[in-house]
């Protein structure tokens, strides 16, 4: 009898250990799916950037999640410029209209401090996701996940600005010889902004109006990101860390503004109005030899996925096979915007919302999502950069992914402070004044005065603390 009992107990213990082992061997995606089945039949809402971005949950991840768990996903599309406002308004009104959220990482501090975001650590531990979070590329993981040491979002989009250039023009022996004779160095992707201007000017002088040296974002929202990058590459610091006085109007700021304005001369006429679509269509049409933009440019220029119906608006690439990828001048690209997945603190279904974002963000699911040609989600996990399928998507995909990986390491964080949008708004306005033809020093003096007034209003010490915290991160300023 005793032996029988012992045998039974041993068998049960062995079975339980095996079960636990199997459970531990499950992926984070599987765990999320299993746990979420208890919410089958319910509906969760998720805020997603309107447009192509939201085709991911609408066409792919939403239906798949419903198929796996029985939970419906309602996608609330919101233009990027309004996402912060909508999230905050719903939170203040306490409607519980949103369950899961996409947030730009620089907003996380403001949203978390306003109480709009749910701290995720308890869920991460409950559903065993902490280990898999470590395989997110360090720059995103260490800078776009936590506020005051607590996890509020999962970095889910490896945004950064990459330089795309026309290999056929750069590698043409005649162009190379002419360029070297004129400037004394090889025609290659520019390592500095001075080289960028010289190369741009050289190509425009030789090929315009068929091909211009470069074409660049100039709309304020994007232009200010390019300014942030170039200002730091040239050695600029945004604030004096002692006094928190803005130093954006120093000689470096003026040099960058003057440089940006002067670069327009070798760009197509009317470049001052350019946003994402204008730069994309010009590059794909072969009208510009260089552009700096987000990763989808590189995929679409290579012709990847552009036969998809959702991408029917993207002009057919005339330069597939001729596109080179490089880090922008200075080698430290702006980690421009990006998205983290979060849970709304006013959600009435936080558990289901959390499980959905864990599943979305997990290695298993995200590997497919970053390869959706239409969804604009870019590689952000170590495994994404080395995925065999992705590497074989087009002939130069390896070079593309290597460049993204290098950029993810050296990339510069967007400036993040308390009430950052106020500072950005001043910068956005300054861009429009720059293109209107005003003097760089005057504009930047005004921006500095506005920044100082905002800092005063928020509280110098409070903001100084936030700035020092941001500035202490390895990717706040270039390392050298």
């Amino acid at each position: 009898m005793t032996l029988e009992r012992f045998t039974l107990a041993a068998s049960v213990a062995a079975a339980l250990s095996l079960g636990a082992g199997a459970a531990l061997a499950e992926s984070a995606a599987d765990r999320a799916v299993e746990a979420a089945k208890q919410f089958a039949g319910e509906e969760i809402t998720i805020v997603w950037e309107a447009g192509l971005q939201s085709l991911d949950p609408l066409n792919y991840s939403g239906p798949k999640w419903e198929e796996l768990t029985g939970i419906k996903v309602k996608v609330i599309e919101v233009p990027t410029a309004e996402m912060f406002t909508k999230i905050l308004q719903e939170h203040r009104a306490g409607t519980g209209a949103y369950d899961a959220l996409n947030v730009v990482p620089t907003w996380m501090a403001d949203l978390a401090r306003a109480g709009a975001l749910e701290p995720l650590d308890p869920y991460v531990d409950k559903y065993g996701y902490r280990e898999e979070l470590q395989t997110i590329a360090p720059t995103y993981r260490d800078n776009q996940m936590t506020v005051d040491g607590k996890i509020y979002g999962f970095p889910d989009d490896g945004d950064l600005f990459i330089l795309y250039y026309r290999k056929d023009i750069f590698e043409d022996p005649e162009n190379q010889a002419e360029f070297k004779a004129k400037f004394g160095y090889d025609l290659a992707p520019p390592a500095t902004w001075e080289q960028y201007a010289e190369i741009g000017d050289f190509i425009t002088s030789k090929f315009a109006p068929d091909v211009y040296g470069a074409g660049q974002f100039r709309q304020p929202a994007y232009g200010q990101l390019l300014f942030q990058e170039r200002f730091r590459v040239e050695g600029g610091k945004f604030f004096d860390p002692e006094t928190m006085k803005a130093t954006i109007n120093n000689e470096i700021g003026v040099k960058v503004f003057d440089g940006m304005k002067s670069d327009n001369k070798f760009m197509p006429p009317g470049v001052e109005t350019w946003g994402f679509v204008e730069a994309l269509s010009s590059f794909l049409a072969g009208e510009i030899a260089m552009t700096i933009s987000w990763p989808p440019f590189g995929r679409w220029a290579a012709g990847y996925g552009v036969d998809e119906e959702a991408l029917s608006w993207v002009p057919k690439s005339t330069i597939a096979g001729k596109v080179g990828y490089a880090l922008p001048p200075g080698g430290t690209p702006q980690l421009a915007l990006g998205f983290s997945l979060a849970v709304s603190s006013s959600s009435k279904n936080k558990e289901a919302a959390y499980l959905f974002i864990q599943w979305l963000n997990s290695e298993d699911t995200s590997i497919a999502r970053v390869q959706l040609p239409y969804a604009l989600r870019d590689p952000f996990r170590e495994a994404h950069f080395t995925n065999e399928v992705y590497l074989s998507r087009w002939p130069d995909a390896k070079h593309y992914l290597e460049t993204l990986r290098a950029g993810a390491d050296s990339g510069l964080l967007d400036l993040s402070l308390l009430q950052i949008d106020r500072y950005e708004e001043a910068l956005r306005q300054s861009m429009t004044r720059l293109w209107a033809g005003e003097d760089s020093q005057t504009i930047l003096n005004d921006v500095a005065a506005q920044w100082d007034a905002i800092t005063e209003r928020i509280g110098v010490e409070k903001q100084r603390e936030a700035y020092l915290d941001w500035a202490s991160k390895p990717n706040a300023y270039p390392k050298n």
Binding site: T85, L88, Q89, R92, D110, R113, A114, G115, P220, P269, G270, E272, T273, E278, Q419, D421, R422, E425, Q429, S430, T432, R433, W435, A436, G437, E438, I443, D446
Partner: protein
């Protein structure tokens, strides 16, 4: 005492009935008045309370701040610039819309072949949502694909690369063109209706007596259409003071804050900067300014007589 009082009461019954009758009409309309006051005044009073607090959407603090925001209004240079931009747009667009609307009304007051079709086409812009009109004009002004630069290029015989919504010298003309295009038909419709009711026999008699067109217009037509014209000016003037959509769609208030109107500034403060209390103070300032303007205008137009 009680009996006397009671007798008095009995004796005074008809008087009691009269008093009740007098009060009864107020009693009947009281709920309606209360609801109207509640709907009309509650938001105002609530806004006033909010403007005296320190509410921002980024902070839990809602402490009483007194008149600090009102004091801030007078030091806020950007606010007064926004008011000035609004006044400029109103001062240019309103007379333009009036003159063009009047000219069109004169043209169509006579029976022309195809008049109903032309009128229907002319009023189309007013049926379009202002933000859509703004977005459409942004496309029309596009330096690369927009037809305006192309047409100007054909006339000039060389490419005309005007950056309508970027360069400071063109942004106001662009806004005014879009605004006048959309709202002149409104002015036209009202003035057309007013002109149609002017006594033709008086005009004919004046013309027979040798009165010039200007004299006929000044002495006969204008007095006849003035009440309608005044109302049209008032409606459009108030609308122009609140102008938002077209400017937002075309320039978002730029370059810098060069075309920022009071509505755009209020929106930016309230929904981009989340300064809820300060926005309420701005709203109050605008209410006061508009009330003064409207009272003055009504007095000048002699519409209150």
């Amino acid at each position: 005492m009680t009996a006397a009082a009671s007798g008095e009461r009995t004796g005074g019954a008809p008087r009691y009935g009269t008093a009740a009758d007098r009060q009864f009409k107020y009693l009947i309309i009281a709920p309606a008045v209360f609801i109207l006051l509640f709907i009309g005044l509650f938001p105002l009073i609530y806004s006033l309370v909010v403007s005296l607090q320190n509410i921002t959407m980024l902070d839990e603090d809602t402490s009483f701040h007194g008149l600090i925001h009102y004091e801030q209004l007078f030091r806020d240079a950007r606010l007064w610039e926004a008011i000035w931009h609004t006044v400029i747009i109103t001062a240019i667009a309103l007379p333009l819309e009036l003159l063009l609307g009047l000219a069109m009304a004169y043209l169509f007051v006579e029976r022309l072949p195809g008049r109903p079709i032309f009128v229907a086409l002319l009023v189309l812009p007013t049926m379009i949502a202002p933000v859509v009109a703004g977005a459409t004009w942004r496309l029309l002004f596009d330096n690369r694909y927009g037809p305006i630069n192309q047409v100007l290029g054909w006339i000039a015989g060389e490419p005309v690369p005007i950056l309508w919504v970027i360069k400071s010298e063109f942004v106001y003309p662009a806004i005014l063109i879009a605004e006048v295009w959309q709202w002149t038909p409104f002015m036209f419709l009202l003035l057309w209706a007013a002109l149609s009711n002017v006594d033709k026999s008086q005009m004919e008699a004046a013309e027979i007596d040798g009165a010039s067109f200007t004299r006929v217009f000044h002495k006969i037509v204008l007095p006849a259409i003035w009440p309608v014209m005044a109302i049209a000016l008032l409606i459009r003037g108030l609308d122009l003071f609140r102008i938002f959509d077209v400017v937002w769609a075309l320039t978002k208030g730029g370059p810098g804050t060069m075309t920022e109107t009071i509505s755009i500034y209020t929106y930016v403060q309230g929904f981009r900067q989340f300064e809820t209390s300060y926005t309420a103070a701005i709203a109050f300032l605008v209410i006061v300014l508009l009330s003064v303007v409207v009272i003055f205008a009504l007095k000048r137009m002699e519409l209150t007589r």
